[in-house]
C-alpha cells in the first residue's frame, strides 16, 4: 500500500526504481522524490531512467506525475525513458493512450542504448 522509490546516480544521470502502489495517496511521495532528483542534478543530466517493473498499481495520479516529470525533463534538456512496465502499468498507459507519448523500453539495457 506504500510506494518505495530508490534513486541511483548513474553516469548518464539518474536511475529510479518505483515499487508498490502509485495512487492518489502515494503519488505525492513519487513527486517529492523526483523533485529532489531535479534539484540534485547541478551539472545537467543526460537522462532519467525509471524502472516500473515493481509497480503493482498505478492510477491517473501516477500518470499525472509522470507527465510532469516529462515536462521537467524537456525543460532541462534531459531524456526521460521508462522501462519494464509491469502489467498494471501497461493497462493504465493503454487506457490513457500514452504509449506513444513516452519513450518506453522493455529492459534497462534497451533503455540506455543510444543515449
Amino acid at each position: 500500500m506504500k510506494v518505495e522509490i530508490v534513486t541511483e546516480k548513474i553516469e548518464l544521470g539518474f536511475l529510479l526504481r518505483l515499487k508498490g502502489d502509485v495512487d492518489m495517496n502515494t503519488s505525492s511521495d513519487v513527486r517529492n522524490a523526483l523533485a529532489k532528483v531535479f534539484k540534485q542534478e547541478s551539472s545537467g543530466m543526460k537522462a532519467l531512467l525509471i524502472d516500473l517493473s515493481q509497480v503493482r498499481y498505478m492510477d491517473s495520479s501516477g500518470i499525472a506525475t509522470l507527465v510532469e516529470v516529462m515536462q521537467n525533463c524537456v525543460k532541462k534538456g534531459a531524456r526521460l525513458r521508462l522501462f519494464e512496465l509491469s502489467p498494471p502499468v501497461r493497462d493504465v498507459f493503454e487506457l490513457a493512450r500514452l504509449a506513444s507519448v513516452f519513450e518506453i523500453y522493455a529492459t534497462f539495457n534497451d533503455a540506455v542504448m543510444g543515449l
Partner: protein, 135 residues
C-alpha cells in the same frame, strides 16, 4: 442481481488500497479476466478519488460506500457518497491529445464501463452506477 459485497470506508485516500484489495477478488470471482479485473478496479479507484477530491473537497471525514452486484450477464457497481453533488453536465474528461497532468479518471471510467450514471436525486450526496457486461 445478487449482491456480492458492500464496503464502507472513510473518504481518505489511504482507503483506496482497501477498496482495491476487496474489489479485485470479487470481480475475478464473477468471471472477468485478470486484465479486465485490473481495469475495472482502476476505474473504480478513479471514481473514488473523484469523490474524495470533488464531492468531499478533500474532507476525509466523509464515507464512501461501494456495493457490488452480479448476475450471469453483468457486473454492477454503486458508489455512494454524502458529499457535494456534482454538476453532472460539467463532468468531462480532457481531450486525450491535450497531454497534461489530470483529466483521465472520467475517461477511464467511460472506457472500462458500458454504463456510467450519476444520480443526484437523493436527499444527500450522489449514487454513481457503473456497469459492465461480460464480453
Amino acid at each position: 442481481m445478487m449482491e456480492k459485497m458492500t464496503l464502507i470506508v472513510p473518504s481518505h485516500p489511504k482507503y483506496l488500497y482497501v477498496i482495491r484489495s476487496a474489489l479485485y477478488p470479487v470481480v475475478i470471482g464473477s468471471g472477468f479476466s485478470k486484465k479486465e479485473a485490473r481495469k475495472i478496479v482502476l476505474a473504480v479507484d478513479e471514481a473514488c478519488s473523484n469523490i474524495i477530491k470533488y464531492a468531499y473537497e478533500g474532507d476525509y471525514s466523509g464515507t464512501i460506500a461501494l456495493k457490488v452486484f452480479v448476475d450471469r450477464t453483468k457486473l454492477k457497481l454503486e458508489l455512494m457518497d454524502s458529499g457535494k453533488k456534482p454538476d453532472v453536465t460539467k463532468i468531462a474528461p480532457r481531450k486525450l491529445d491535450d497531454i497534461r497532468p489530470g483529466g483521465l479518471g472520467t475517461h477511464f471510467m467511460a472506457e472500462v464501463f458500458d454504463r456510467v450514471e450519476y444520480d443526484t436525486s437523493g436527499a444527500a450526496g450522489t449514487v454513481l452506477t457503473l456497469e459492465k457486461t461480460h464480453s
